[in-house]
């Protein structure tokens, strides 16, 4: 399916993945397959809470199984650099309930 919504165009770009359990992982897309399994390099998790700003946890090289992926977003570096994560407070995302 060459016209389908593949992830080819995002390879080697920074992406923001939202998983089914509500986590947000940001990293460089290195690979993917039909099942949306994903290889992320130099990744970190952004932990949202209402008590303090966004915490960033370094994860490194990660493989995420496609089953657990909700959204793969192309991270706009320009927009991201203007975000003040240390002052951003929010409830963590709810898990996906099938």
């Amino acid at each position: 399916m060459s016209t389908g919504p593949g992830l080819e165009s995002l390879v080697d770009q920074t992406i923001s993945v939202i998983t089914n359990d509500g986590r947000n992982i940001v990293g460089i897309l290195k690979g993917f397959d039909q099942a949306t399994n994903i290889i992320l390099d130099e990744s970190h998790e952004r932990v949202y809470s209402t008590k303090e700003g966004v915490q960033q946890l370094v994860l490194g090289l990660y493989i995420i199984r496609g089953d657990n992926i909700s959204i793969v977003g192309e991270l706009d570096e320009e927009l991201d650099s203007h975000l003040d994560l240390s002052n951003l407070r929010a409830h963590p995302l709810k898990p996906v309930i099938h």
Partner: protein, 93 residues
């Protein structure tokens, strides 16, 4: 296959995709595949104050398995055509 074809005809339209984690994302439908994975462009989360998690994302891929609803523009729905197509599919092609 029916809804795959149906969504392909909606490419270029503005839709709102509601996910099974209650997040609703509005954007222009860029493409769909056989799993009903959806790619949206110019996205914004409907309640950005409550969900600031995607503030720096403008294009995104949504896995078909987490989609709860797709809200369509009324002019994107040809009810008669859909009725015919679903009946034909129910009869077995």
């Amino acid at each position: 296959m029916l809804f795959f074809s149906y969504f392909k005809d909606l490419v270029g339209r503005e839709v709102t995709v509601e996910l099974k984690n209650d997040l609703a994302i509005r954007g222009t439908l860029h493409s769909v595949d056989q799993y009903l994975n959806i790619k949206l462009e110019n996205t914004r989360v409907v309640d950005q104050d409550k969900y600031p998690h995607m503030l720096s994302v403008r294009n995104c891929f949504i896995r078909g398995s987490v989609v709860r609803y797709v809200q369509l523009p009324p002019e994107g729905v040809d009810i008669d055509l859909l009725h015919d197509a679903t009946r034909r599919e129910a009869r077995g092609g």
